[in-house]
């Protein structure tokens, strides 16, 4: 009898705690990626009918071939919240030049000096700087939206194959 009462109490507590929460759905593009909520793995997307409490929460998504995503959301008290994450892909880009004695730098931190290099670049814009004998001789924006091969000619806009 006591066990029965305890079971009822626990069921009621669980029901009330669920009622105080918000329904959570998470979609990702691409799907079938592990979604972490506040460090806890919710499983692979799409996530349906999960529960979340109002307040600040952190979502993290990592998938090979895509930029890792970290997103903090202050969840409002609502009936349901639905999140769609569009992961940013990483493309392989070949960068080639026939110019001699140049040093290339992307986004102020990544440098190389070889005439042909293969880069893994997050989709979007990147800032390219070209140095020669310690001086900046060229600056350009690189837009990456697919796997590409860039050819660099001194002080000319980048061309791709």
């Amino acid at each position: 009898m006591k066990l029965f009462k305890n079971l009822i109490f626990i069921s009621l507590a669980v029901f009330l705690s669920l009622k105080a929460q918000i329904k959570l759905d998470v979609n990702t593009i691409p799907n079938r990626v592990n979604v972490f909520l506040d460090g806890v793995n919710l499983g692979r997307s799409p996530i349906v009918n999960e529960r979340i409490k109002p307040g600040l929460h952190k979502f993290e998504i990592k998938k090979s071939g895509f930029a890792p995503l970290s997103y903090e959301l202050l969840v409002n008290p609502a009936q349901a919240v639905k999140l769609d994450f569009f992961l940013n892909p990483i493309y392989e880009v070949k960068f080639k030049t026939e110019e001699k004695g140049l040093i290339f730098e992307v986004n102020g931190e990544h440098r190389w000096d070889v005439p042909l290099v293969r880069l893994e670049l997050e989709a979007g814009e990147h800032f390219l700087r070209v140095f020669k004998i310690g001086e900046i001789i060229d600056e350009q924006m690189i837009t990456v939206d697919e796997p590409k091969r860039f050819n660099y000619f001194l002080q000319k806009p980048l061309t791709s194959d």
Binding site: K23, A67, L69, Y71, L73, N76, P77, A78, Q79, A80, V81, K82, L83, D84, F85, F86, L87, N88, I90, K94, K96, V106, N107, H110, W112, V114, P115, L116, V117, R118, L119, E120, L121, E122, A123, G124, E125, H126
Partner: protein
Amino acid sequence: MNYILNNIYKIIPIITLLMIFSGCSFIRGPVYPEIIYNNRQPLISVTYEYGEIELILPLKYDAAIPDNILFKVYAQGDTVHPILSILQESPKDFLAYLPQGVLDIQNKTNIVKIIPQDSNFDPVQVRFKGIRFGRLTLPRKTIKMGQLVVKGKTFLNKNDSIIAGASITLQNFDNIINTTSSNRSGYFQIAIPGEYKYAEHLRIVAGENLIFKPFAKKLDFKESRKKNLNIGLGPSNDLKEPLYMTNKDNVHFRKSPEIGSETLFLLKEGEVISVDRVTPGEYFGFIEVLLEDKKLIQLEGWVNRSDLRLLNFNNIYK
């Protein structure tokens, strides 16, 4: 060129060995060791779905139903700005849909004000604790007609001095509906349910606990639910002393002192007579009669001496 062609069988193995040891990078170039991010803001879509609050307030009408009712819903203790105002014909259940999150779900600071569009009804309000969303059914609220109120002062007609502790009753026929008494300042306020608004035989009786004849007046609330009525008790200043009072009911007030003379009135106990002349067995004097137009007149007549006693203003309570 001829040299290359002549030695091609030597060059091919060397290139093959180079490719084996250096991998594809020999042709495709080296791989930069890190992934280069641009920290682009990811595309994220956040969609909230808010629920509704279905607020139900069952109503019950007592005796009468107002034509229309204005409902106002206030939330979170704000009694100035209603979140909803609805004027509708008096419903059986008040039903309103509110957006999620507007109500206080911790305390009873949300209010439904019910304002009947009828002067016979007083506004009432219901305080309640809200929910986040879903259906909320409040306890049934009864809408009653507003109370009928009589207020005023009791005073002595003779000198306008205040009479404290005079009993006040409201009666329908002879049924007492409510009773009170005037306070130290002579002030009284008495209320009865609104259902008596159209009662034909409603009256106020004051001073039954005094030695004087009680004051009685028919009441009519058809025009207004509230009445101010200052009640004068006892004889007026116009009655000259000495003053006597009847000591029992049905005292004969006669036209002349002779035995068998015409009886003008039968006086109740407490009727005051201003005695003017005296015979061995009879007193001649004046009584006051209040006419319907509130005019007070004096009538003369004879009363048996044994039916009277001298009026003592030092103790007017029974």
